[in-house]
Amino acid sequence: MRLTIEHRTLYAFTAPQGRVVQLLRMTPGDTHDQTVAAWHVEVDCDARMTDHRDGFGNATTMLYCEGPIARLELSVTGEVVTSSSGGVLHGTNETLPPRFFLRTTPATAADAEIGAFAKGAATGNDIPALHGLNREIRQRFKDDCGRPAPGLTAAEAFGREALTARDMAQVFIAAASAIGVPARYVWGYCDLAGDHRPTPHGWAEAWVAGLGWIGFDPWLGQSPEEHHVRVAVALDAAGAAPVAGSRLGEGRERLEVDVTVQGEA
């Protein structure tokens, strides 16, 4: 499948900023089932950009921009060719061992309720159990198509009726950790998630001995296949976020995000 991606991120400031420094995790890498045919990250002001790789193996870009900056727009365009291995990942850039991903963060820590839910939904820690867990999360929550609430933890989200894709993925990670399965957050793109979305897509990956890393997308209730483009991983959504930034200046910021993904078989 060939996926064409447009991802626009606009920061508008109520007062001009003296400087902006950002760390972008916006560049996907190649895997066995994902070939990046074209990829461009552009910024609409005079900025210096340098390429790095973070400790999780994600490709990152540092962006340094001198003020005065009233607005800053990042435009990502690209084409990715995908295939499917039933959610099983091959050829990813791994820098940390699976056991590391037993760690949780405040956003992915399981409380007693999630723990009980996980033990009820997943009998064991094999593939069928994890698929069961994935489906249970899908069935439990309604869709929230808005932008995720900053800082919402899995434990807080679990009490809600409707969840964003991010929050479902973090609930999956918390539940996986509660049954001793290493799990992590992935952000990326998915053409089934709908046009002009106010946020990129997010899902989870869990590690199963003998098979390796396997994707689980609770929003869709199935494993990611050729409709997904994987961009960055971390312990939670905040750690994998497309943009981590710091600005020097007064005032507030307004964020606009528009994501369009078109798939062609």
Binding site: T50, H52, E66, P97, F100, L235
Partner: protein, 491 residues
């Protein structure tokens, strides 16, 4: 409590150790009032200089000075030589361990350490994986906390490889002693410590990134004047003749760190930071940090700046890792550790936990991730209620604790209300690692528990400090006896 302790000046009995008989005589001959007068003079100076610290959780929030004791602690030249060898070996191993654990992880492949101890430890920072500091040096400044139980029995109590503090006390205490007890420096050949700032600056310059200017620009980065160790930050910057900066003074552009000055930006090559990892760079670590420099880790990863000590070092001095230090030293040096650990029970292990619970009244139990003497139980001096409370806490979260036997820490005569009496001490020497090797500064920080029988030396718990003399070879100065010689040759 009656632990029979080795006294470093008086030995095990009533007679002074022969090498230190002169010091014992000085102590006996100087009236307590005179000692007290000198001690008060020193403390007045410290207060004027502002060498104060804030005690956390204290309602009066007053700035206190750490009490200073006028009676020095002395290391003989050969004792020091052996101790130094052990310290160098240990710090070399700490550097190898950090380089390995954030790199190839050979020590895990060899099965020397349990993987979970590293990977599930919050001190292991994924953000640092794959980054190698300039010249491969991680722990540029180590403070290794030691205790002593006999003439040649030293044990490592704790490694400090993040941002160990206390070196300003080593320097200020010495300055006070030279001024107030000059006669001691006439009697003994004491190794000088005042070269520490020069050695530190030399260490910093030696790890400047390759390809930077011949004269690398070094700075000290402080969280600010409200930090309890601010005096030390400004003192060190001052004595090295380099700038003391706060985060707002630094800016990263194109992966290069600059300092803002009136004359424009100046490129920075080496940063001695006294800001914790969590607060160092808000776009990599805690986003709410106001003390950090956005982009600093990118500049570091690009190899454009040296950060002293390296970010991520907490994994080397974590108390859970500590108990494996003998194995770590053996793995990297191929030899047994010259400086032993204190025997340690890891409460995460069921058998060790059982032993600890059965012997709470004899053991010292500590939080794996605690410091400053908080969250610990000193069994022999604790009340029944304290032990009962602690037992519950320990059973709830055993993995967070280690236990150690209560050692008969050595004592040194100390000036107290009633005169001079033995008090327990520990010791923090400072070890510097640069691109040219590891060196031990001949001196350090002696902390003394001022309460009779107390084994807790932390300044936050009523401890004081002493000057630490390291004697040069020969120890005592040769007194020169001058007499006239007969000019006439007898026939």
């Amino acid at each position: 409590m009656g632990i029979a302790a080795f006294d470093e000046i008086m030995g095990n009995g009533s007679a002074a150790r022969p090498e230190l008989a002169d010091l014992a005589r000085w102590l006996a001959d100087t009236p307590a009032d005179e000692l007290r007068r000198r001690q008060e003079a020193a403390e007045t100076t410290f207060r004027q200089l502002g060498i104060t610290f804030a005690v956390y959780g204290n309602n009066d929030a007053s700035e206190r000075i750490i009490p200073f004791d006028i009676v020095p602690r002395v290391f003989l030249a050969d004792e020091w030589a052996r101790l130094s060898e052990g310290l160098v070996q240990r710090v070399e191993a700490i550097n190898c361990f950090l380089d390995d654990i954030y790199g190839e992880q050979e020590i895990l492949k060899a099965g020397v350490l349990p993987e979970d101890l590293i990977f599930l430890n919050p001190q292991f920072r994924p953000e640092i994986v794959g980054i190698r500091p300039p010249h491969g040096v991680w722990a540029h400044i180590c403070g290794i906390d030691l205790v002593r139980t006999g003439p040649d029995e030293f044990f490592v109590l704790e490694d400090n490889a993040r941002t160990p503090s206390g070196v300003s006390y080593m320097l200020e205490n010495r300055e006070a002693m030279v001024r107030l007890c000059p006669e001691l420096f006439g009697q003994f050949r004491v190794a000088a410590v005042d070269s520490y700032p020069d050695r530190l600056l030399e260490t910093m310059r030696s790890v400047a990134p390759r390809g930077c200017a011949q004269n690398p620009t070094c700075v000290v980065l402080t969280p600010g004047h409200f930090n309890s160790a601010y005096y030390e930050h400004s003192f060190l910057a001052d004595s090295m003749g380099i700038e003391l900066v706060e985060a707002a003074d630094l800016v990263v552009d194109d992966d290069v760190v600059y300092m803002r000055t009136i004359g424009g930006r100046v490129k920075i090559d080496v940063i001695y930071r006294r800001v914790d990892d969590d607060f160092l760079d808000p776009i990599v670590f805690r986003p709410d940090s106001m003390l950090g420099v956005p982009g600093l880790i990118a500049a570091y990863a690009a190899g454009n700046v040296a950060i002293i000590n390296a970010p991520g070092n907490g994994i080397a001095d974590d108390k859970a890792i500590y108990s494996y230090m003998p194995e770590i030293v053996r793995f990297y040096s191929g030899k047994d550790a010259k400086l032993p650990n204190v025997e340690t029970f890891r409460c995460r292990e069921p058998e060790a936990l059982r032993y600890t619970l059965d012997h709470l009244d004899e053991l010292v139990v500590k939080l794996v991730d605690g410091s400053g003497g908080y969250g610990m139980l000193v069994g022999p001096t604790a009340s029944k209620e304290e032990i009962a409370t602690f037992r519950a806490v320990l059973m709830a979260e055993p993995h967070r604790y280690i236990a150690q036997p209560t050692l008969a820490l050595s004592t040194v005569p100390t000036l107290v209300e009633a005169g001079v009496a033995p008090r327990h001490v520990d010791f923090r020497p400072f070890v510097l690692s640069g691109s040219k090797g590891v060196q031990v500064v001949p001196g350090g920080l002696t902390r003394v528990a001022l309460r009779e029988g107390s084994l807790v030396v932390n300044s936050s718990q009523g401890g004081g400090t002493k000057d630490s003399f390291v004697l040069l070879g020969g120890g005592k100065r040769q007194s020169q006896v001058m007499g006239s010689m007969t000019q006439e040759q007898s026939l």
